[in-house]
């Protein structure tokens, strides 16, 4: 069966979501891209920045993804951004993900990010963002166990809500 690449996103977010130290620093949660709720002021943002399928014959190969993972905090809210970004780095640098249908290859930072953004609606509000771009590489199943050309997709997975 073809594995679900979204499970990689989920595993990364769960690794961050379930860490009590990070939860204490950024209690409003972990969100995919800009999906944070309106009242969130201290949270982790995870964005799939780049992705490539590196293929081999017979539907093997690996997925090569780059995630932007940032601690985000609103101005006027007391947040230890230094510790939050460092905790993210501690969790992800040479960390490990367990994802169904994949074999873990690598998880590491490629570069840091640190920026301040003006709120697009209320110009008096600043958003502080600190984190990095993290490379995630996950191998697909070997030829012997992957789907062969001409085989039907798993129809039970069709129609599932993302």
């Amino acid at each position: 069966m073809v594995p679900d690449s979204s499970e990689i996103d989920w595993a990364l977010m769960m690794l961050l979501q379930t860490d009590p130290q990070l939860q204490a620093l950024l209690p409003d949660g972990v969100f995919d891209e800009e999906g944070a709720k309106q009242n969130c002021m201290r949270f982790v943002s995870v964005t799939l920045s780049d992705h490539a399928d590196v293929n081999t014959f017979q539907q093997g190969g690996y997925e090569n993804a780059l995630y932007l993972v940032e601690a985000v905090s609103r101005s006027g809210v007391l947040t230890n951004m230094k510790d939050a970004a460092y905790r993210i780095h501690q969790l992800l640098q040479d960390g490990m993900l367990t994802v169904p249908g994949f074999t873990f290859m690598a998880l590491y930072r490629e570069r840091r990010t640190r920026r301040v953004e003006r709120d697009p609606v209320d110009k008096s509000i600043r958003w502080f963002r600190r984190g990095g771009y993290y490379r995630v590489q996950m191998a697909l199943a070997d030829t012997a166990t992957s789907r062969q050309p001409g085989q039907d997709a798993d129809v039970s997975a069709q129609g599932a809500v993302a």
């Binding site: 590196v54 293929n55 081999t56």
Partner: protein, 134 residues
Amino acid sequence: MAILTGRNGQVLYDPAGGAAAVAILSLNQWTASFKTDRTEVTCFGDTNKVYIPGMKDISGTVNGYWNSAETTLFEAADAATPGLLKLVPNSTEPTFFWSGLAYLDADIDVSVNDAPAVSGTFSAAGPWTREPAA
């Protein structure tokens, strides 16, 4: 038949040189060359250069990624006797392929930011055939 994709290419190998070739895992490219030597025999009065064919020289390359569950390429490079190599452009058309005895060499390239890449070259060690024959 129509033009098909290379996604379903295949490289198979039997170290015993027989008919039990098994697909080598984690490869993503193969090339083969069937060049024939040419000898120039241009003579006075010819309006252009003239050549006659010599022997065909069959060789090629395979490329892919290191997979610890698949060491066939390196075992073949260590072997003192040739194995049977079978090259399939698309496994959905399994009756179309090139095959023959071949000696293989292997290389591996490991860098910090990518999956280790393996590559190999092969040279014919006996007669090669193309199937189906014309």
